[in-house]
Symmetry: C2
Subunit: 167 residues, 2 copies
Amino acid sequence: MTEKDGAPAARTVLQQCLQARLQVKPHDEQSEAQFVQIDRGMVIYVCFFKGATDDLLPKMVSTLLNLRLCESDSGKLVSVLELPGSLLIIPQATLGGKAKGRGMQYHNNISKEDGLRLYSTFVSLCEKELMAAAGSRAAVTVQHGTYGNRQVLKLDTNGPYTHLMEF
Amino acid sequence: MTEKDGAPAARTVLQQCLQARLQVKPHDEQSEAQFVQIDRGMVIYVCFFKGATDDLLPKMVSTLLNLRLCESDSGKLVSVLELPGSLLIIPQATLGGKAKGRGMQYHNNISKEDGLRLYSTFVSLCEKELMAAAGSRAAVTVQHGTYGNRQVLKLDTNGPYTHLMEF
């Protein structure tokens, strides 16, 4: 796996939230801006690198959703599936940046086309896992940003407990 | 330097904000909770690893504050010093976590005592650089969280443009 030889195939940043709201369509002359929103749960910022393939995704989703990163009401750490909490998935190509002088370069980022495909599958797998775990507890949802757009985000936390996970 | 041999001495995550508010003292029986707040600028989440020393800090601060990560009104990328924007610095030990099974371990994190010292110096250097660059434009400030506490954060962005920088 790419994890072993040093260069990651995907980079994620995880933050816990009480509420998070993301714009999925900017306003235009015809209509207001559109937003998605989750309450308590986890924000996943995700970036894929060149060489990332679909077979990476099941392990990635399973790891992220089963890691004990969320604080339950009793203060115990549980996974977002156990909480159960909602997910807000945000495509974040900037996470692939490397400093060169005073600028950032994104040469290792995956192509837009492949990235969109992986991102869509990643979102679907998260939906499947969360729905399977949460069952009929309808309050939890998976929401996500639109790939390639500006991710206008509003975040409210009781401590983001920011984690980095690479795959 | 530690950067070369693979293991970083410090990890930072950077997010752009329109406004960010952080609790610096929880409420208790005597008093209300206390918060610090910045308007437009950059949030720096920072975590030091074992082996990090003071001589790392000047380069680290200079790099973070001079990288062109911020969008100016004209849409051009400029540094937070050039914007000029404010800084909110958040100690974030969770950034040093490594997954082991379903839990996270923080064995490489610096000791609390050394971490607090580096964090305090880091904040001071950021203040010095921002004040030197912004001069009398009094609207920009450096605010920061209290080391070792829960970082209750509220973030409003026009796109966080999340970046990872390791030193």
